[in-house]
Amino acid sequence: MAGQVITITSGKGGVGKTTATANIGAALAGLGHKVVCIDADIGLRNLDVVLGLENRIVYDLVDVVEGRCKLRQAMIRDKRLETLFLIPAAQTRDKNAISPSDMQRVCDELRVDYDYIIVDSPAGIERGFRNAIAPADQVIVVTNPEVSAVRDADRIIGIVEAEEKGPAQLVINRINMDMVNKGDMLAAADVLELLAVDLIGIVPEDQAVLVSTNRGSPIAMDKKSKTGQAFRDIAERVTGKDVPFAPQDGENGFFGRISKLIRAGSN
């Protein structure tokens, strides 16, 4: 079967796309799949840092597109996971250096040998976003449980639908567990109600994400971490497995409500 291209995007910046790309990529590789992560945020690359591979970069995506190197030469193998690769973005160029058809070509070449190609998109609806979305078989929209991020996610979901790349799937990142337990996190159930899309993951707010980012070691590799588990669950759902959402808060708690909403929304 040809590999699947999954683009991770958002309307608002800084909601956790790069974090999600690195972690979903690492988790899929941890399951034994052959995975390539592509940093499509040209000019603002940072997926390499999150994966701890910055010092190995020789060639980048723009070099591939402009024919200065072969695709293989730009692929950096992860230090820990044998089947995880990164194609970094160029740091010194801008988004005009590549086009949607360039992205399509690169991804089509990768589909032959790899199971999943995860594209880290820049935020917004401009050219960089369209480059990232062009090759996608599936689009994952990341949001935070806050009004402005949800509004922008809604806009992106609409555009993804208009481009016939939909239906998008949603990751709600940075849920605050204390607020959830106090019952103050209804906002997240509202998120789903408003966006009316399939939920593919809920990731808690966790200081350890920052620590792991600084270390260049995605938290999904930490088998003991709950946040890592949230990303591993997303990876399993990407592969088509039906992984239930964590029920630890009881039927009427937040997750109880969420999973009801999902069931209500998915028939």
Partner: protein, 231 residues
């Protein structure tokens, strides 16, 4: 011979239209024409009449970039194709231009203006959508925050109305807005503007209309306003 491109100044900006031709060629001809006249066109707002051509979201987005690279901004797409208009609306483009006066052939160019009286939208209007219609608008679906509907006539939403809505946008004070859950960010009828209260009870079907210079809302079933018949 390349197809002809017509660029004409109107109050809202530069109106671009084409002679017959196929879409990709027309686009190429347009870009060439713009490059040729670049000095004159700098900073202009473009209204593109694509007639019957069907243009997808990805292509419209690319077109917007091509214009902005050349110092022009594309803000409106006019089309007789329902699919093209819908895509343009989703991307936030205007799909009709207001106040076309005095210039006979322009009204012909803008197909929407002489279009049918009511339009039916069967999908959710998400943030950034921009639906403008000279007649009545009926939506079966939600209107999310950040979406807007501007209608010459009534607006009926069979769903949650949470975005911005303007009924009677050309001055018709008899226009009404109804929704199963009427919670717009802002509601306008003709020249009146209402901002609904922050705290609302259980959602219920409501109708809003203008009476004695005020925007009023009441439950949809006990309608007293004469124009509140289904559109």
């Amino acid at each position: 011979m390349p197809p002809d491109v017509h660029i004409k100044g109107i109050r809202e900006g530069l109106l671009v239209s084409f002679d017959d031709g196929q879409w990709p060629e027309l686009e190429v001809a347009l870009i060439n024409e713009i490059e040729r006249q670049n000095d004159f066109l700098q900073g202009a707002k473009l209204i593109l009449d694509v007639a019957q051509h069907e243009i997808g979201a990805a292509d419209l987005g690319k077109l917007r970039d091509k214009f902005s690279d050349r110092g022009l901004s594309l803000w409106a797409i006019l089309s007789t194709s329902e699919a093209t208009r819908r895509t343009a609306q989703t991307l936030g483009f205007a799909t009709r231009i207001h106040n076309i006066e005095g210039d006979g052939d322009l009204t012909e160019v803008s197909s929407e203006i002489e279009g049918s009286d009511a339009t039916l939208i069967q999908r959710t209007l998400r943030s950034g959508s921009n639906l403008e219609h000279p007649g009545h608008v009926t939506v079966i679906g939600d209107v999310n925050p950040g979406a807007q509907i501007i209608a010459g006539g009534n607006v009926v939403v069979w769903g949650r109305l949470r975005g911005l809505v303007h009924a009677g946008a050309e001055g018709d004070e008899a226009a009404v807005v109804c929704a199963l859950d009427l919670s717009p960010t802002q509601l306008r009828i003709a020249g009146y503007i209402a901002i609904p209260p922050e705290q609302r009870g259980e959602p219920k079907p409501e109708i809003a209309y203008v009476q004695d210079g005020k925007v009023l809302a009441e439950p949809w079933e006990t309608v007293t306003h004469p124009s509140a018949q289904p559109v």
